[in-house]
């Protein structure tokens, strides 16, 4: 998910934007309007209502692989059901949320221009608090029976209950990358990483939070080392052995990608488990790059889609959200040659043949870790900003 990290890079700004917009909304006195729940209806009613609708899916528009997946797999499958899917590109998810907020302020409680949003944790939480999303639909999608809703990484988005207001579609796992021609065995734990950095000064760095990937790296360190204080002390100890002696940090993940591609540092990282293959395909990395995990398991979260309460084509949007959970589409998505993101389906809930196809498709790529290990969950959404501030005070200065 290059997309996710791009959009989250602007998270603090985005948060401010949403907060201001939501605040204005409450002041304007329109905050009380409760979001619509879809009237109880059968799936066949949803299908017939959706027929002929064009779903405006607002989504991050900077990732060619995701665009192609939507065009090659989602659009044809939706067309068979009489639903047209229109990708509306945004450079940051908050743009879609801003639009929904503007519609709310303008008193447009139905017929909204945004039918479906590829949402991220922070924006979902803000919108949920403001009552922007359609309620109680995600668990009624027929294909949601393949999803293990007891799994915390699915049931909670950055520790906030999903509550049927968003439906999962892609798994995200934090993976590191190294070049096998330069490094023979990469570190497997954070203490090992520190030892490695001391032995190879200047060959490691991470993007400075609030970059999405850099912030996730810092959160991971904090979780693995058992607390904010321990984590920050570790990062302080690491700093002098970083690229440029720690006097500079890449300001974005794109910058770190560039340093890694230029062989100025030995390791790269991403919240997209398949980032190495996607970058090799784009000609940015050589094909000798390999993945590795630090700490025994990947930090994981889930990408969701949500439907605004005022969406003009909510039925069509539900049909698309359901298709995104279709075992065939999920298998294509898990293919490293397509997107290679971990599936959000629980193989034990699938028919045996579909489960086997899913396992087979996602296995065997040299660019994906053989196993994602014991998943490490995300910290609650509200803790991001304090951690980033603490990092700025303790490590950056």
């Amino acid at each position: 998910m290059r997309g996710r990290r791009q959009r989250r890079a602007a998270a603090p700004l985005a948060l401010v934007g949403v907060a201001v917009a939501v605040g204005a909304l409450l002041l304007a006195g329109c905050g009380g309007a409760s979001p619509a729940s879809p009237p109880a209806r059968s799936w066949s009613q949803v299908l017939s209502e959706a027929r002929g609708q064009t779903v405006e899916w607002w989504m991050y528009g900077g990732d060619a692989a995701t665009d192609e997946f939507v065009d090659d797999y989602v659009k044809p499958a939706a067309a068979k059901l009489g639903v047209t899917v229109d990708r509306v590109p945004v450079s940051d998810t908050v743009e879609a949320v801003d639009r929904v907020v503007a519609e709310r302020k303008a008193g447009k409680s139905s017929g909204g221009a945004v039918d479906l949003i590829w949402i991220n944790g922070e924006n979902f939480v803000e919108g949920k608090e403001a009552g922007l999303w359609l309620k109680d639909w995600a668990r009624s999608l027929p294909n949601s029976r393949y999803v293990d809703w007891t799994e915390p990484v699915i049931n909670r988005d950055f520790q906030v209950p999903v509550a049927g207001q968003e439906s999962p579609w892609q798994g995200a796992a934090f993976v590191f990358g190294y070049n096998s021609t330069a490094v023979s065995s990469p570190p497997t734990s954070f203490p090992e990483l520190l030892a490695w950095a001391k032995a190879h000064p200047g060959r490691f760095t991470y993007p400075a939070p609030p970059d999405f990937t850099g912030a996730a790296f810092v959160r991971q360190v904090i979780q693995r080392l058992g607390g904010v204080r321990q984590g920050l002390r570790y990062l302080e100890a690491l700093k002098p052995y970083q690229w440029e002696g720690g006097s500079q940090f890449p300001t974005s993940i794109d910058e770190l990608d560039q340093l890694f591609a230029n062989e100025q540092v030995d390791f790269d990282m991403s919240y997209n488990a398949n980032f190495l293959e996607l970058s090799v395909r784009k000609g940015e990395f050589p094909s000798t790059v390999r993945p590795f995990l630090i700490g025994g398991g990947a930090l994981q979260n889930t990408s969701y889609v949500t439907i605004p309460a005022n969406a003009a084509h909510a039925a069509g949007a539900e049909v698309v959200a359901n298709l995104l959970l279709d075992p065939r589409l999920q298998t294509a998505m898990a293919d490293p040659g397509v997107l290679g993101t971990p599936s959000v389906l629980d193989p034990s809930r699938l028919p045996p043949a579909a489960a086997a196809a899913l396992r087979k498709r996602s296995a065997g790529s040299p660019f994906l870790p053989a196993s994602l290990g014991e998943p490490l969950g995300e910290l609650p959404a509200g803790r991001d900003v304090p951690i980033e501030e603490a990092w700025t005070r303790a490590v950056l200065r």
């Binding site: 290059r2 791009q6 405006e56 607002w58 991050y60 528009g61 900077g62 990732d63 060619a64 665009d67 192609e68 065009d71 990708r87 509306v88 590109p89 945004v90 450079s91 743009e95 879609a96 801003d98 639009r99 503007a102 519609e103 302020k105 303008a106 008193g107 447009k108 221009a113 945004v114 974005s252 794109d254 560039q258 591609a261 230029n262 062989e263 100025q264 784009k282 000609g283 940015e284 050589p286």
Partner: protein, 256 residues
């Protein structure tokens, strides 16, 4: 240094300053593999163009952007024309006040105008429509066109018009034979500026037309994330701009 040599130096500097970045853009658009420290891409290809144009989204966005930019420019020129004429002949603090008010959309940060526009355009049902985008662009384009047009109506032009009138020339012939030929260069420059401002609008396009994405909205997400695709889209972005520039420079030359 002779005047000629100075000219040559200025020319060379201009080429380095303007043409070099353009050349990098072209190379980047065709770069399939381009890794440090190579000066040129290791492998050339059409991936950037395939991604940029494969889905047809960029093509649609280009057509929409062109329609909006041409309509906006035409409307802005027609509206600004009489205003510029009147302003050219007025003086004193009232003129300054009127100019200030007209230039206000340029002085206020685009983000602020965008947010305000969004809510009202949604109320009026204009969001995501071509008409809505034209009106939104007009708020920014009109002041530029007007400011450029004012000097077109110099006292000399007004005198020529008066002379033609006293010789019995009708209003249409006066416009075609006197006013347009003597103001053509400035009108062409104003229209060019108007077109380019509309063509590259990001903020107002996003605010009122996020659902009908203009070309800059399609381009921006790729910047940074996928430089090859971004470069391919930028080339598409450049073509109409260069055409408009060529057209305008012809317009200015003919008029002079």
């Amino acid at each position: 240094m002779t005047e000629r040599r100075i000219g040559r130096w200025v020319g060379a500097t201009a080429i380095v300053l303007f043409a070099a970045p353009l050349a990098v853009l072209v190379v980047q658009a065709f770069a399939e593999v381009w890794r440090y420290p190579a000066l040129l891409p290791q492998q050339l290809g059409l991936r950037g163009f395939r991604v940029a144009f494969g889905s047809g989204d960029a093509g649609r966005a280009t057509v929409d952007s062109l329609e909006v930019a041409v309509t906006t420019t035409a409307l802005a020129t027609v509206i600004a024309w009489p205003a510029a004429r009147a302003l050219a002949r007025s003086h004193g603090p009232r003129r300054t006040a009127v100019l200030m008010v007209l230039a206000l959309p340029l002085l206020v940060p685009p983000f602020a105008t965008g947010t305000g526009l969004a809510e009202w355009f949604i109320r009026l049902g204009l969001a995501d429509t071509r008409l809505g985008l034209v009106l939104a662009h007009l708020t920014v384009v009109l002041p530029y066109v007007l400011l450029v047009l004012i000097p077109a109506f110099s006292p000399r032009v007004i005198e020529l018009e008066e002379m033609a009138r006293s010789l019995g020339t009708g209003p249409v012939r006066r416009l075609l034979l006197v006013t347009l030929p003597s103001t053509g260069a400035v009108v062409a420059a104003a229209a060019l500026l108007g077109f380019l401002v509309s063509w590259s609008q990001y903020g107002s396009s996003l605010a009122v037309g996020g659902g009908l994405p203009m070309l800059p909205l399609t381009l921006l997400p790729f910047v940074g994330a996928d430089p090859t695709v971004a470069a391919a889209l930028s080339l598409l972005f450049l073509v109409p701009a260069i055409l408009a520039l060529a057209l305008a420079s012809r317009g200015t030359r003919e008029a002079l």
